[in-house]
């Protein structure tokens, strides 16, 4: 499902269709998160990514009216497509080789995941994650919040229309 969605993103001519394919992919990834015992993250993925970010995309498409269909048959830059295919295939090949090769070096590192079972309670994953964020990485957390504020302020500034431009 993920792959179908991904391929859809890059193949669909209409940007809105591409956005919807993206949603498909994101849902699939969320499901996989659950399978990997990352329940909190799965929830965040759906809410933030699929919910907020894709909606934002759709809003922009709507506002700007860039729903013109892109002509995917032609490629103005010569050689771009074959080379692009080559590059991405190469990348995938390299990554897969690395993955397969590096299998042996996996070993236990951390203190273990708290799984939500009878012993730890149903919020175990969330609790553990929260503990990690707010104790070990609290500085990063604060900085990230500053980043969010700056992002918002910056964007507002960027997209401001000055008086003269509107007339």
């Amino acid at each position: 499902m993920i792959l179908v969605g991904a391929v859809g993103v890059i193949v669909r001519k209409h940007p809105v269709h591409a956005a919807l394919s993206l949603v498909l992919t994101l849902f699939g990834v969320a499901v996989l998160f659950v399978a990997q015992e990352a329940h909190f993250l799965a929830a965040v993925q759906v809410i933030v990514y699929a919910g907020a970010i894709v909606v934002l995309f759709l809003f922009v498409i709507m506002l700007l009216g860039v729903d013109r269909v892109e002509n995917l048959r032609t490629e103005p830059l010569s050689g771009q497509r074959p080379l692009a295919v080559l590059a991405s295939l190469g990348l995938v090949a390299v990554l897969i080789t690395a993955i397969l090769r590096g299998n042996q070096i996996f070993n236990e590192r951390g203190t273990g995941l708290n799984l939500p079972d009878s012993q730890n309670g149903p919020d175990a994953n969330t609790v553990q994650l929260a503990e990690s964020i707010f104790s070990q990485y609290v500085v990063a957390f604060e900085v990230t919040s500053v980043l969010l504020v700056i992002a918002v302020v910056g964007t507002v500034l960027l997209t401001r229309r000055t008086r003269a431009a509107t007339e």
Partner: protein, 106 residues
């Protein structure tokens, strides 16, 4: 190299993540609509998140998930800013593609 089995071991997740990443790269290189290019970038980020989570499970470490948390936050901020830029550029010209923004031509 471990033998391929049909059970979804960690390697499968990582391979899937790699493929997803590759698809995202291809999309960035091939599509001309700036918004679609952005979406492909999101695809790549997701691929990375997936691999982090898989490894967190494999290595039994909660740090992997913490990283993903932060990545998601930063991705959100990045989308905000990026879209803001696109909006401000494309305000006047609605038929804009990535190729028209060739101002850095040397």
């Amino acid at each position: 190299m471990t033998a391929f089995s049909l059970e979804p071991t960690t390697s499968w997740y990582l391979v899937l993540s790699a493929i997803l990443f590759g698809i995202g790269t291809l999309g960035v290189l091939v599509r001309r609509n700036p918004l679609v290019m952005f979406m492909c970038i999101e695809l790549m980020l997701n691929a990375v998140n997936l691999s982090f989570v898989a490894l967190a499970r494999e290595l039994n470490d909660i740090n992997g998930q913490t990283i993903v948390f932060f990545v998601m936050v930063v991705a959100a901020a990045e989308v905000v800013v990026g879209l803001g830029i696109i909006v401000s550029i494309m305000r006047s010209r609605s038929t804009l593609t990535a190729d028209d923004l060739a101002g850095l031509k040397g």
